[in-house]
Amino acid sequence: MITCKVCNNQEFHGVFFCGECGSQLVLTDDKNVDTFIYPSQVRGLELDISNTIPKKLLENKTFILYCLDQEEMINIPDQVEFTIGRFVDGQVITPDVDLNLYEAFDKGVSRLHATIRINPEKNKIHVIDLGSANGSSVNGYEIPANSEVPLNHGDVLTLGKFRMKVILPKELK
């Protein structure tokens, strides 16, 4: 039997998807990574951000990370690939986005925790966990280190215990 990592349901060998929660149970080819499903345990596609993010910003950005605990937008550089982590004194390679600015001190974020890669042509965004100490997850489901995992509008990306919401302003009504 195989056990679903998300809901602990047991399925027979050979089954591709959990019959209880619908999560994918087998790994597919890299080229198929986009079909990987992460069950969202956090709702909130209807998250109200109208008060916290200026409308103008929403119109200009293609991609926004929203800190769920501090309820504010995270400042991200305007480039197609950047690293996220925590700046510590004496560090040689510094992350492009320093989560200490968003009170990440005791949230188990590594110095270089993850990379975000934006492919504007294909309109796709991926996160890569850089082998962080405490790991990363998408929608509560742990992701493997050093591999690209797609991010969709409404996903909750967690680095250690630091939770961020992925917002693609295009998808907002």
Partner: protein, 485 residues
């Protein structure tokens, strides 16, 4: 030595033998070859051959077809089959495992290569009280319009039903337009909904005038629940399937019983559709007729026999129209279109295989294709090599993976319905939330929203909304089609 592939030779009679003579020859042959009497080697096979020959020659329809084909140089049917498995090689396990198999049958002829088969079609129209008003008007005009589009040699009948059935247009080809108009115009809405009445009348009309190698089909349009006669309808559908009569259903609005109509269609190889917009009635009729007109074979059925130690858990038709199939081993698939495959996804449970065996036999089966001049059988077997361990992990084949992924969506909404039925709205809620996020991940945004909306509805009402329930079901079914347009 007579040619034992010839049915007449097997019974030792001439081709001109009467029905009575065939029966007599058969009894004589059986007495000589019955395994209880004749213990010679090969007698059993001889006995089976005789059974086969008699089965065809005693049935006037099939005898005619056999005669037509006999003697002339026969070309085999232009079809081929393809089989794909969820795993190329099985791993030897000491516990049961699941294997999916996707079977295609496709006619290799392009649309223009053969002439169309004529239709023998019956329209069954619900004229219960609830159809009153716009529904009735649209139904009338759509039916009249589609009848005018039929060809001269098509046979048409029209039935209306409420608590009773009425034959508005009795089975005939090329009915005068004025007659069609006046009989359909006479229709008005009153009374209840008893689908069996309508189906039975249509069944009779189709049978009344049933020439060989016509595409027989009943098109049922209803907006209501039938009460108490479901079992009769199912029995009728089973008989229809045996006589190559297909049933397609269109449900208007939200009141009609989708599970029931789905079952009727699945049993006979028809299709079931759900519409909310009235102007889609015409499109549905047009789509149904166009697709029946594409028939290469008037009927194809599939029989599958799981090997010992294997259970067939479920079957799902993916093409030409997605539909869950009833739990059985013989499936009536309806017409086989030119150049368009039938695709069935089977789910098998395989029990542990003994160590000395390196090939797991999963099932054997055959397609039975009905087309002039006779019936053709296309046998196949499903088996996979079985090994102790794999050198490299096998990624699942794309097409089958995609089909199963979409089947998972359908199953989730089905389970949510069961959760509600067994009094667990909380579980149903969570399931729909999961479904919604999976759909979102696949880019199926509008269906994801419907699932989310239903989850909210369940939270406050402890039940599905009538519209959302059907939207989710038919929405997830629709996803299964490789080409969704």
């Amino acid at each position: 030595m007579p040619d034992k592939t010839d049915f007449y030779d097997r019974l030792n009679i001439g081709t001109g033998a009467s029905e009575e003579a065939i029966k007599k020859a058969y009894r004589l042959a059986v007495r000589k070859t019955h395994p209880d009497v004749n213990r010679n080697e090969g007698a059993t096979q001889l006995f089976l051959d005789i059974q086969e020959a008699y089965k065809i020659l005693s049935d006037p329809n099939r005898k005619g077809a056999y005669d037509d084909g006999r003697g002339s140089h026969e070309t085999p049917p232009a079809v081929h089959t393809a089989i794909e498995f969820s795993q190329d090689t099985l791993i030897r396990l000491d516990e049961p495992q699941i294997v999916y198999s996707m079977i295609d049958i496709v006619s290799t002829l392009a649309e223009k290569d053969t002439t169309d088969l004529p239709l023998n079609i019956s329209f069954v129209l619900d004229n219960s009280t609830s159809m009153n008003g716009a529904r009735m008007d649209i139904l009338k005009s759509a039916t009249k319009a589609i009848i005018q589009e039929l060809d001269e040699d098509d046979i048409i009948s029209v039935i209306s039903f409420n608590d009773r059935a009425e034959v508005l247009l009795s089975s005939q080809s090329h009915p005068p337009i004025a007659h069609v108009e006046s009989s359909i115009n006479s229709l008005f809405a009153e009374g209840g909904t008893e689908i069996f009445q309508g189906l039975e009348a249509a069944f009779e009309e189709i049978r009344k005038n049933s020439p060989f190698d016509y595409v027989n089909h009943i098109i049922l349009i209803t907006d209501g629940h039938t009460y108490g006669d479901e079992e009769n309808c199912i029995t009728l559908a089973r008989s229809a399937a045996k006589l190559d009569i297909g049933i397609s259903g269109l449900g208007i609005g939200i009141e009609w019983n989708d599970e029931f109509i789905d079952k009727l269609c699945a049993l006979t190889g028809g299709q079931c559709m759900f519409i909310q917009e009235l102007n889609q009635v015409k499109d549905f009729l047009k789509h149904s007729i166009t697709s029946l007109k594409e028939a290469y074979s008037r009927h194809v059925s599939l029989e599958i026999i799981p090997a010992p130690g294997v259970n067939l858990l479920s079957a799902f038709r993916i093409l030409p129209e997605a539909l869950p199939l009833p739990h059985q081993e013989e499936f009536s698939l309806g017409i086989l279109k030119k150049d368009k495959p039938h695709r069935i996804l089977f789910e098998f449970l395989i029990n542990p295989v003994p160590e000395e065996i390196d090939q797991a036999i999963i099932a054997s089966g055959e397609f039975i294709l009905k087309r002039k001049p006779r019936d053709y059988t296309i046998p196949f077997t499903l088996n996979r090599p079985i090994v102790a361990e794999l050198e490299e992990p096998q990624p699942p084949p794309e097409e089958i993976f995609r089909a199963i992924s979409h089947l998972t969506f359908y199953r989730l909404q089905e389970k949510a319905q069961k959760d509600i039925a067994s009094g667990n709205p909380g579980t149903a809620f969570q399931r729909l939330i999961n479904l919604s996020s999976h759909l979102m991940a696949k880019g199926e945004e509008s269906l994801a929203k419907i699932a989310m909306h239903e989850a909210d509805y369940i939270k406050s009402h402890n039940n599905f909304s009538p519209t959302g329930k059907k939207q989710l079901k038919y929405g997830t079914i629709r996803l299964m089609l490789p080409d969704k347009t």
